[in-house]
């Protein structure tokens, strides 16, 4: 088999991060090539380089031996590279045929004009779909009325209408039902037989073994290895993906773990919180690991009252409570530092002072008015305590660096004197120095007796900071490890591998049979 696509020494730098560092990749005609890596390993950047969205800083890309440069996705398409992104990029108000031929409509002559040939396009669409063994899709239907599985088939037909030689699929099964997954696999195998080279990205390791011929692993923007699937194993792949070094971390301080501040039992909130049972104790840092989309933030938002629970129990310091709104959660001593600082954590156009006091302003009163002195004192105290680098409490938050913005969010919630602090990706988009400071801060807060639930996609952070680690997958808690038991490998396995899920199910079954 010959290589269709070859990439050598590809590097790509974004402000603050080196997303790809000397990466190579090669895919052959008629093979399914899986691309694996943790969140942030560089998979997305790599496929965006291949599909012409990003231009690499260095390195060469060849198609069938000929060097190519793409200035935009259109040029990549013309070279036969088609990409099916996770969020499908179809037009819901247009028909199947219109979507398939978007941008390259077939034309016919009518007198002096060249007009779109809808008849030919509808016929061709039907032909394309039939060739994929899809017989239940009418080209005249609007895409918006289709199921996710059918929409994806339209995307594949669209790729074929462009004579794609390389088809990139980014987590194609993430939103599919079991039946749709089976059909997708059939289609992928069909395309493979026809000599299409498929680059397949998935977090489900089982799929890689079911479908792929070879697998390439990336880690922190570096190329790790490429292996035939037949010569590897799940454990092997996980080891390749997670072998990250743990550095730049503040060593966790010892703290005294006492009573339970939070207990949840069988908490449900569709679609991503399913029968969650867990506890967080005072003085304890509980790490919540999982892939993006596994339901960690959703769980936090259920506890914080943004999406109130549908069923199940929440106990704060042993007392059963019903949390229906963030204001109520705050009263009960729950604080939530959200994942997205820009839209959820802060009002960035407002000043540090105004953000820090936002949650507690109604307690800083003199009569019915805001007590300016008390508010100023709170802001100054927070800036000092968290060493927020700003020239004044009157500075607009937007002008601060990511790390300092994060400290403002933390400061806002510390002002509410919480018992439980939920931190969602506390060090995302924060530079190394600020990261260490935030880690020290988290550790100190636990020492002072706060219960901390820390959501993070970075395994070293989870391992370095947590007393106890919970792993979520598809809305359920899959596994729990003590600090001593936890390793990058067993956490990653619980995040991704079906084996752990089966074990877990069996454990549940045996538990329930005991009862």
């Amino acid at each position: 088999m010959t290589a269709i696509l070859e990439l050598e020494n590809i590097s790509k730098q974004f402000p603050g991060v080196k997303a790809l560092n000397d990466v190579r990749f090669e895919s052959r005609a008629g093979e399914v090539h899986a691309l694996l890596g943790e969140n942030g390993a560089g998979k997305s950047t790599l496929i965006k380089v291949i599909s012409g969205v990003h231009k690499p800083d260095t390195g060469t890309m060849k198609i069938e031996g000929m060097p190519v440069h793409f200035d935009n996705p259109r040029q990549a398409q013309l070279q036969g590279i088609a990409t099916i992104y996770q969020e499908l990029s179809l037009y819901p108000e247009l028909t199947v045929a219109e979507n398939i031929f978007m941008g390259h409509g077939m034309r016919r002559r009518m007198g002096p004009f060249s007009v779109l040939d809808w008849k030919a396009m509808n016929e061709k669409s039907l032909e394309l779909l039939t060739s994929l063994n899809i017989h239940d899709l009418d080209p005249h239907r609007k895409v918006g009325a289709l199921t996710v599985g059918n929409r994806q088939r339209v995307e594949i037909a669209k790729a074929l209408s462009l004579n794609a030689r390389v088809l990139i699929m980014d987590e194609p099964t993430a939103a599919l039902t079991e039946a749709d997954v089976v059909r997708l696999f059939e289609i992928v195998r069909l395309l493979k037989q026809r000599g299409v080279s498929i680059i397949y990205i998935s977090h489900r390791l089982q799929e890689v073994f079911d479908l792929a011929d070879r697998v390439t692993v990336l880690r922190d923007g570096h190329y790790v290895d490429t292996k035939p699937v037949s010569e590897t194993s799940e454990d092997d792949l996980i080891r390749m993906m997670v072998g990250r070094t743990i550095n730049d971390l503040f060593p966790k301080l010892p703290s005294e773990v006492t009573h339970e501040v939070l207990e949840v039992r069988d908490l449900c909130c569709k679609p991503l919180t399913k029968n969650v049972t867990m506890t967080v104790r005072a003085g304890e840092i509980v790490g919540l690991a999982g892939l993006v989309g596994s339901g960690r933030s959703e769980l936090a938002q259920v506890v914080f009252g943004i999406t109130p629970a549908e069923s199940g129990q929440v106990l704060i310091e042993g007392k059963p409570v019903q949390i229906k709104s963030p204001a109520q959660a705050m009263e009960l001593g729950v604080a939530y530092v959200p994942e997205d600082r820009g839209t959820q954590g802060l009002v960035r156009q407002m000043k540090i002072r105004e953000n820090v006091s936002m949650a507690v302003l109604s307690t800083l009163m003199k009569g019915i008015f805001v007590d300016n002195n008390a508010e100023n004192d709170l802001a100054d105290k927070t800036i000092k305590q968290l060493s927020i680098r700003a020239y004044s409490r009157e500075q607009v938050v937007n002008k601060l660096s990511g790390g300092n913005q994060q400290k403002v969010v933390v400061g806002k919630w510390l002002a509410s004197k919480p018992k439980l602090l939920i931190m969602d990706e506390p060090t995302r988009g924060v530079d190394v120095g600020a990261k260490a400071e935030i880690h020290r801060l988290i550790s100190e807060l636990a020492q002072q007796g706060l219960g901390i639930l820390m959501i993070s996609s970075e395994l070293p952070e989870i391992l370095g900071m947590s007393d106890r680690i919970l792993v979520m997958r598809e809305g359920e808690i899959m596994a729990e490890y003590s600090r001593a038991e936890a390793t990058q490998e067993n956490i990653a396995a619980a995040m991704m591998s079906d084996a752990v899920r089966n074990m877990n199910n069996q454990r549940k079954l045996s538990e329930s049979s005991k009862v």
Binding site: A327, F369, S392
Partner: protein, 340 residues
């Protein structure tokens, strides 16, 4: 951690430059210049009597412009206030004349109807997540239709003399003096201004306008606050109806037509961002004064009605362009002047 060097210095007491670039201050200067120019055209313009009388005429717009400021600060809009005023005026006349309510009760009932009309806007906006523009556009038509339906194109007249006290007399019934309704406007403006500037509620409105989700995630009761401001808007439209009927001695279903646009114009000229997040009551008050004196001054100078409207439109554009220019000056301007 990096702090750009060309920013305004920290608020260390009084800063002349900070005052000079305030939109309110610029507007104030424009207003003064405009008034002085107009005063040269007519000797009736710049007299105490005339100015106070203008205060009487601007009352209805001013009353709804206050809650409108709060609503626009949250990034919303209320197009239905003119129609609420229409329906309230009709309710006042109808409940007194046809239902036989004592006039005092009819007034109270009118205010309640206004409040409920506004609350309805708020409920749909908050509970069903309708965009305020769409919801209040719908009730803009709906409430006006109600007013016309109830009134059956008949006007109500023959109110007792004491009822005209509010709309036509001066404070303490002096022959010359401050119109009664102007006192109400001033008190309302001061209260609303203080609430906006100095209470957690006011701060919450700014937070909602800048980032509603961020406000919600900070435990601010966003839905409650929105209900309050839309209800308040309806209530003030009811007040405006009462005062207007008292001023013109009659009730008609087309009262308040175009009121919402005058109010929005005053709020926006007063420096409140139409996208939400910033604005002040003092700005709105200056906006109201500017528009009213401009209209009056031009009319006294012999400019015809249509041309007056054109000038008001031009001033609106000018005020916004000037404000954008000062808030985000172009590079050449910064290089020349901002070094000071």
């Amino acid at each position: 951690m990096t702090v750009s060097s060309n920013e305004a210095p920290a608020q260390s007491g009084f800063s002349l430059r900070a005052l000079l670039i305030r939109q309110e201050f610029i507007l104030f200067v424009i207003t003064i210049v405009g008034v002085l120019l107009l005063a040269t055209q007519s000797d009736k313009f710049l007299t105490v009597d005339n100015i106070l009388n203008q205060g009487r005429l601007v009352t209805e717009v001013a009353l709804v412009a206050l809650p409108m400021t709060l609503i626009i600060i949250t990034g919303g809009i209320d197009l239905s206030v003119g129609s609420i005023m229409g329906v309230c005026a009709i309710v006042l006349g109808y409940s007194w004349k046809n239902l036989g309510f004592p006039l005092e009760l009819a007034i109270a009932f009118t205010l309640v109807v206004g409040l409920v009309a506004g609350l309805l806007n708020g409920l749909f906006i908050v509970r069903l997540g309708l965009p305020p523009l769409i919801m209040t556009l719908a009730t803009f038509a709906l409430y006006r239709g109600l007013a016309e339906g109830i009134s059956q194109a008949r006007s109500v007249r023959g109110y007792p003399d004491w009822f005209f006290e509010m709309g036509q007399k001066n404070f303490m019934s002096y022959e010359k003096g401050v119109p009664n309704q102007l006192i109400i406007v001033v008190i309302a403006a001061v209260i609303v201004g203080i609430i906006l500037a100095r209470t957690p509620f006011g701060r919450g409105l700014y937070a909602i306008g800048n980032n509603e989700m961020g406000a919600r995630f900070s435990g601010i009761p966003v839905f409650l606050y929105k209900l309050v401001i839309y209800s308040f808007s309806g209530f003030m439209a009811g007040m405006a109806a009462w005062i207007y009927v008292s001023r013109v001695s009659t009730t008609r279903s087309d009262m308040g037509t175009g009121l919402e646009l005058d109010a929005i114009a005053a709020v926006v000229i007063g420096g409140t961002s139409i996208f939400g997040g910033s604005g002040t009551i003092i700005g709105t008050v200056i906006g109201l004064i500017l528009i009213q004196l401009l209209k009056n001054g031009l009319a006294l100078s012999g400019v015809k009605g249509d041309s007056t409207t054109i000038v008001v439109g031009l001033v609106l554009i000018l005020a916004i362009v000037l404000n954008n220019f000062i808030q985000n000056p172009p590079e050449w301007f910064k290089r020349r002047f901002a070094s000071s």
